[in-house]
Symmetry: C2
Subunit: 332 residues, 2 copies
């Protein structure tokens, strides 16, 4: 029994295989090496159960095979799903992820950006609502959902088309008078287009619509008041509601139940995100589905592509509608 105290190094492998250090390095990195040498090195690696030390590797080469993911939290379904898919996309490429859950707090975000710098990450994927985040010059950065300026690519769902689709669906399902509900601070920039798209869809279909946008505080109480105002003789004047997120839709559904409105008979509700319980095929409400795994894949691909010819400033991925019990079943 030799000194198995510390993990074997390339030097050990070289000695075992009777070759030079550099040769082992080449084999490990898949560079061309003569057949007999290669075989002997591979055997030695097997025998010693050798693994490269990524810290030595990261120190010498500049590439660390690590990217940082800056995200508000890991708990909201859309974010959780993003973390999951990005992790998968990275794993496929043998990359590691430095998870930076920021609570959307600017201080924490900056702290994490610094940590990322310390860790010499090869790039950053960020979902942040902080416009004046200081990113180091050389570090590749891909934004999700929020444009960070012309020099930084942004990957997002086609929010405008999503809003439009929601309006069209409600029209198709027989609605005449619809509402758009939104909590102000919860979404900025890109997702703003959901509203614009919805408006556009309503106009083109001749739907009468009303917008209700709230700024934080106790939004759900205010929404309840808003809906109550629109009830005459127990009957809600809206027959369709588009909520800016599934989460909001969930709360609104509870409110509607409280107000004795039947969903979808009296009023149909469409959310946005495509939230599902894990492992379930059913959506928690009828919704506009964001292509999360495509977003994840696109971010990683864009970030890691070696010789980027041009960085496209904005990439919109197509959304789709999914039935989730809160709209009338489609006739077909």
């Amino acid at each position: 029994m030799k000194k198995e105290l510390s993990a074997p190094t390339m030097k050990d492998v070289a000695r075992e295989a009777g070759v030079a250090l550099g040769t082992v390095s080449k084999v490990v990195n898949g560079l061309p090496v003569g057949e007999p040498y290669k075989r002997r090195v591979e055997e030695a690696i097997q025998k010693l159960n050798y693994q490269v030390n990524s810290y030595a590797q990261g120190l010498k080469a500049s590439r660390t095979h690590t990217i940082a993911l800056l995200i508000p939290n890991t708990v909201e379904p859309f974010f959780a799903s993003l973390v999951y898919h990005i992790n998968l996309a990275l794993l496929r490429r043998k990359y590691r992820m430095l998870l930076c859950s920021t609570d959307s707090d600017p201080g924490m975000e900056q702290e994490y950006i610094d940590m990322a710098r310390q860790n010499k990450v090869d790039g950053i994927i960020g979902l942040t609502y902080n416009p004046n985040l200081k990113i180091e010059e050389g570090t590749p950065f891909i934004a999700i959902d929020r444009s960070m300026g012309p020099k930084i690519s942004c990957v997002t769902s086609d929010n405008f088309a999503g809003g439009q689709l929601a309006a069209e669906k409600l029209a198709d399902l027989g609605c005449k008078n619809v509402a758009f509900l939104r909590i102000g601070s919860s979404l900025t920039n890109e997702p703003n287009k959901r509203k614009a798209g919805f408006e556009n869809g309503c106009l083109s279909r001749g739907l009468h619509y009303e917008m209700k946008i709230l700024n934080d505080g106790d939004p759900y109480e205010e929404f309840e008041a808003f809906l109550t105002e629109h009830i005459q003789d127990g009957k809600l004047s809206f027959d369709g509601i588009f909520c800016v997120t599934d989460h909001l839709a969930y709360e609104i559904l509870k409110t509607l139940r409280r107000l004795n409105q039947r969903v979808p008979e009296d009023v149909q509700v469409i959310g946005f995100d495509g939230t599902r319980h894990f492992g379930s095929l059913e959506y928690t409400c009828s919704t506009i589905v964001q292509p999360v795994s495509e977003i994840a894949e696109m971010c990683v691909e864009l970030l890691l592509q070696e010789n980027a010819p041009v960085k496209p400033p904005l990439i919109c991925l197509p959304v789709s509608y999914a039935y989730g019990g809160t709209t009338l079943e489609e006739r077909n």
Copy 2:
């Protein structure tokens, strides 16, 4: 303008401050250094905007300030919440997290364990249902929810007490005839004790109970059949149901609605986990709440404590009951 091409190193700081390399290292690591030297070094660090290179640090010192979190996925609420809180607990201690989302796939788990070895992580926190996972000898490991043998500490909720508490609550709320529902493969080991605790609670309170445990397949259909069997003249013979997870409770609630049973008037339902929508104070159903943030804190604390006197084999943290709309409001 000097060569600002590459990030400044300790050498640059040393030159700027007019001190030796080792002195800078000491200042950075908070070791005692004479006051005038210390001040000059700190100024130089400020001026150059220096950050340690964690790869060089990790290579030389063995400590990498990184731990791996092995978890089935990041999407189920309990797991997502765990990721969130563990991340927070690590950040507080200036530690990084290597996220290993395994899909409970043994191959992937092993792959990640290897990756963790490559990355010289200081320890691993693991939630895995794979009993014969090969963990390297020297690496500290803390298990969540599933005991991995006598040499490895396991942190878990007090599942037995939780089951008992559920039974007692149902008894307090006037139930006479209750059921326990569970999907077999979904939970092993520790959470098994939920059943035992519930049984114990029922016996001590003289509650009549029935157990229904399913093995995968299409469990929800089978649960529906089971419940349908227990309906006589539109009335369910159970007046209380304890579901092994909130997720299951959610599905059962949908089933009950389909069967025209009112919750909580006809039948009360209690879940397990304490699932909430992000930012919401309301639970998605009445439930036994797992102390997620305490579990997270305990794991990290246990893993990182320097000179561990004894590694306790099993640590049960207390659970609590929370009202979430699917039980009768407590009289008090």
